[in-house]
């Protein structure tokens, strides 16, 4: 970490997160990744939804759009589609991305727009003070599941792979160096990248604590996982209660991104043809003669 200078991505504003929140780790990991990539803050747009983690854009020096609850992905895609020169990163929490916004996630995956989506997954609704989330474990006691959650959680890694995402990874907020390497690869990847970041909520999630994760986490690269093999990826993605893999589950380098396929975005989006020629203006109505 000492090799890169993250200052150019820091702002003079204290995050609104609880002390010990996993989102600090993600913030640091993301700033480190941006520094490693040597990007200019003005070339980056960070788009978020609503929730604790969705305050992220305010704490990074870059352009930001803090959109509605669940709508980070459509907003981010709109930005990328008209200005493909920008590095667009969407971010938010599990309620935002896997609950209210999950429809957009599925379509962003299959569309394969060249953006990186980071979900700070704490398996709880934090900002609304501790309700069950789409990734809450079965048995988790929350304000809305006082007897233990009896809905099965969504598996974001499997959802992303099966929906056609071309880069799917999991990081852990206590492993910022490992995380920043993965974010670098995700941003460099040409296509839609999902990073499910384990970001423990120290206030409301009493089950999935740092300690709980530390006892279970292992790195996929340490066991010789082949991320280009979708069957291996799916197999590893099903692991949870006993052993929890972090690292890159899946990469599909063969599927072109939406921006490469769309004839206008490929030519620069809104820069493809900034103005119509006088002849084009004259001729445009002739199709109605």
């Amino acid at each position: 970490m000492a090799t890169v200078d993250i200052k150019k991505f820091q702002v003079n504003l204290n995050p609104t997160w609880c002390p010990g929140c996993g989102d600090y780790g993600l913030l640091r990991g993301l700033q480190t990744a941006l520094a490693k990539l040597d990007l200019d803050p003005s070339e980056i747009v960070i788009v978020s939804g609503i929730g604790c983690s969705s305050n992220l854009p305010h704490f990074i020096k870059a352009y930001g759009y803090h959109s509605l609850h669940g709508r980070a992905l459509p907003t981010a895609q709109g930005i990328k589609m008209v200005n493909p020169r920008l590095t667009v990163i969407a971010a938010g929490g599990d309620g935002d991305g896997y609950g209210i916004g999950v429809g957009h996630l599925v379509h962003a995956c299959r569309r394969n727009v060249d953006i990186t989506y980071i979900v700070m997954d704490n398996q709880i609704y934090g900002l609304t003070t501790g309700q069950t989330s789409p990734t809450s474990d079965v048995g988790s006691k929350t304000k809305t599941s006082p007897d233990g959650n009896y809905e099965y959680p969504l598996n974001p890694i499997l959802v992303a792979i099966s929906s056609g995402a071309t880069f799917v990874a999991r990081t852990f907020s206590s492993e910022p160096e490992h995380m920043s390497d993965i974010i670098v690869k995700a941003i460099q990847h040409k296509g839609f990248a999902l990073i499910d970041d384990i970001s423990p909520c120290v206030t409301y999630n009493k089950k999935n604590t740092y300690q709980w994760f530390k006892e279970r986490i292992y790195k996929l690269e340490d066991i010789g996982h082949d991320p280009y093999d979708i069957n291996q990826a799916i197999q590893r993605a099903t692991e949870w209660e006993d052993k929890i893999p972090i690292g890159i589950f899946y990469i599909n380098p063969d599927k072109p991104s939406y921006d490469q396929l769309d004839p206008v975005i490929r030519e620069g989006g809104m820069f493809a043809k900034p103005e119509l020629t006088e002849d084009e203006k004259k001729e445009i109505l002739n199709q109605f003669l």
Binding site: G64, Y65, V82, N83
Partner: protein, 574 residues
């Protein structure tokens, strides 16, 4: 000139009978002959079956609506013959395929033109579905229109590859054309005028493209879908990013992203999709992101009448989203207005950094209108992108700087040396959130005032409605949006009867220019005309100005007003 100067033709059948293609060909034939044309397709949301009719009005002069009862009826099956036979005007014609339609108890005052597909159609074109072309050929003969233009239209529509099919069609048309001996008194005279045949939807799409629209997103929804189709077909040529989104929530948020990034961005839908968009429309007001939203209204509520017309969404547009934020609502009166006003919608959106709602409806969206070519002049479309800074010196920049007009100059993402966050939470001038700061009323009030102040300036940019006819009249007809054509005709019909009447048509709906009430208060008898149940515009007017319209005509049966129907309704107040 003697003889009839105009004709109304109604083609009735089931979906899949090829009604639209007859309408399309006839519209083109009329416009290529330099004649005025207007067509309305009363179709249903079915691909096959159902009851469908298309009415097309052709005239030596420009036509503003599709008229009332037909001079010529072309029923394509027995049930549609029964349904429409009484509507044919005295002296009119019923042209039908006698193999399919059996006629008994003939009316004395109508000319029956039976043709037999079986006997007349050439061998290569015996398919029952081609009866529409046989009957079209007969209609063209009765109308004394130039058949060589028709042949040319058919050839062009099938292209070089479809030469065989084109010839088959022309042969069927000839069979119809040559087997009618009736001499009619229609006197449609070929004129040296250049007409476009365009729908309101296409007019909006072309106007937007000329206004520099670089992004369009939508989820398919009748009656707005053909805007999406036009953009898809023309995207590559004119450099427009077009996205069919997974739903309307995505469509509007993608458009907002595009608008934030600096593209002139637009999305289009109908009432149901608009409902889904409303939260995001408010967010564009909060983040001060320019975006244009088209709502092509259909009969509501709920799924309602998917393929019928209504002006029922004005209050929905007005109340779209929680909270209060600046916005503009525009409603063009016809395709010509739509062409220019959509450019103005973009200008307002960017000048004031607001969402602009563009209200059209089924009638305007999908009606075919003959528009004289010089009425749509691309050189008259002016682009004003508002204040966008290209160079800024770093830290001093405030994205939401408080200004007199409430408008803070924008910097687009990608501009060097600057950064800011646009947030849907309440924020200060620098974009930093103040939403959760305990009791900072002063900042909240300052930012609300800044945004809402834009409304005072938006309304000043709005042109006042023109009073058509003598300002000192006994009767004033008031309308908004797509009812213009029919109200205009009713005004003329009343004038012919010696009644002093004028017409005020509002297109810049919201914010309400209070001077509209001053104009209307001069009228001796004011009658509003709206295609909805609750007379929504008059409610808005009273809400904003205190001015009450006493006489209201409303229609909410799914069909648009027609001239004679409206004339009768207006006369009830005279």
């Amino acid at each position: 000139m003697s003889g009839k100067q105009e004709v109304i033709i109604r083609i009735a059948g089931s979906a899949g009978d090829g009604i639209a293609s007859v309408g399309d060909v006839l519209s083109k034939l009329a416009s290529r002959s330099g004649l005025g044309v207007c067509a309305y397709n009363s179709y249903q949301s079915v691909i096959r079956g159902g009851f469908v009719w298309l009415q097309i009005r052709i005239s030596n002069n420009k036509v503003f609506n599709h008229g009332d009862n037909p001079d010529i009826l072309i029923p394509l099956n027995q049930s549609e013959y029964e349904r429409h036979k009484d509507s044919v005007l005295p002296g009119g014609y019923i042209i039908y395929n006698e193999d399919k339609v059996k006629v008994s108890n003939k009316r004395e005052d109508v000319n029956y033109i039976p043709l037999s597909m079986r006997a007349l159609a050439p061998q290569e074109a015996k398919q029952p579905v081609m009866q529409n072309m046989l009957l079209l050929g007969a209609a063209v003969k009765i109308l004394n229109l130039d058949k060589s233009i028709l042949d040319d239209i058919i050839r062009k529509s099938f292209g070089k590859k479809g030469e065989e099919i084109a010839n088959a069609n022309i042969n069927v048309i000839n069979a119809g054309y040559n087997n009618v001996s009736t001499v009619s008194d229609f006197n449609l005279v070929k004129q040296d005028k250049k007409y476009y045949v365009i729908t309101g939807n296409y007019s909006v799409a072309v106007g937007a493209t000329l206004a520099g629209c670089k992004f369009y997103s939508a989820y398919p929804m009748t009656p707005a879908s053909s805007i999406l189709h036009w953009f898809v077909a023309n995207a590559k040529k004119y450099g427009i990013v077009v996205k069919q989104a997974e739903d309307e929530i995505a469509a509007i948020n993608i458009a907002i992203g595009a608008g934030f990034a600096g593209a002139r961005a637009m999305t289009g839908t109908s009432g149901g999709g608009f409902s889904l968009m409303t939260e995001a429309i408010g967010s564009a007001g909060m983040t001060e992101t320019p975006v244009v939203i088209i709502n092509s209204m259909r009969g509501g509520p709920s799924t309602g009448l998917p393929t019928k017309t209504e002006q029922g969404d004005l209050f929905q547009a007005l109340g779209a989203s929680q909270g209060e934020y600046p916005k503009a609502i525009l409603a063009p009166k016809d395709p010509v207005s739509a062409f220019y006003m959509i450019a103005e919608a973009f200008n307002l959106a960017e000048r004031y950094q607001i969402p602009v709602i563009f209200l059209i409806d089924f009638l305007l969206s999908n009606g075919y209108y003959g528009i004289q070519s010089d009425e749509l002049d691309p050189s008259k479309i002016k682009i004003d992108r508002g204040e966008i800074l290209e160079h800024v010196n770093g830290d001093g920049y405030l994205r939401y700087k408080v200004t007199e007009t409430g408008v803070s100059p924008r910097v687009l993402p990608g501009t060097k040396g600057v950064y800011y966050v646009a947030a849907t939470d309440e924020h200060d001038e620098d974009g930093v959130l103040i939403s959760d700061i305990y009791t900072d009323e002063a900042k909240r009030k300052k930012m609300m005032d800044k945004r809402m102040r834009k409304m005072n300036y938006i309304v000043k940019d709005f042109p006042l409605p023109v009073v058509e006819g003598d300002s000192n009249s006994d009767v004033t007809l008031l309308g908004w949006g797509s009812t213009y054509g029919v109200i205009r005709e009713v005004k003329e019909l009343l004038q012919k009867e010696g009644i002093k009447v004028n017409h005020v048509h509002v297109e810049y709906i919201y914010p309400v220019n209070k001077e509209i009430a001053d104009i209307l208060s001069k009228s001796k008898k004011l009658i509003s005309i709206e295609n909805n149940y609750t007379s929504q515009y008059t409610k808005l007017l009273r809400m904003e100005t205190g001015f009450e319209v006493q006489n209201k005509i409303v229609k909410y049966d799914g069909e648009p007003f027609t001239p004679l129907y409206l004339l009768k309704e207006v006369k009830r107040y005279l």
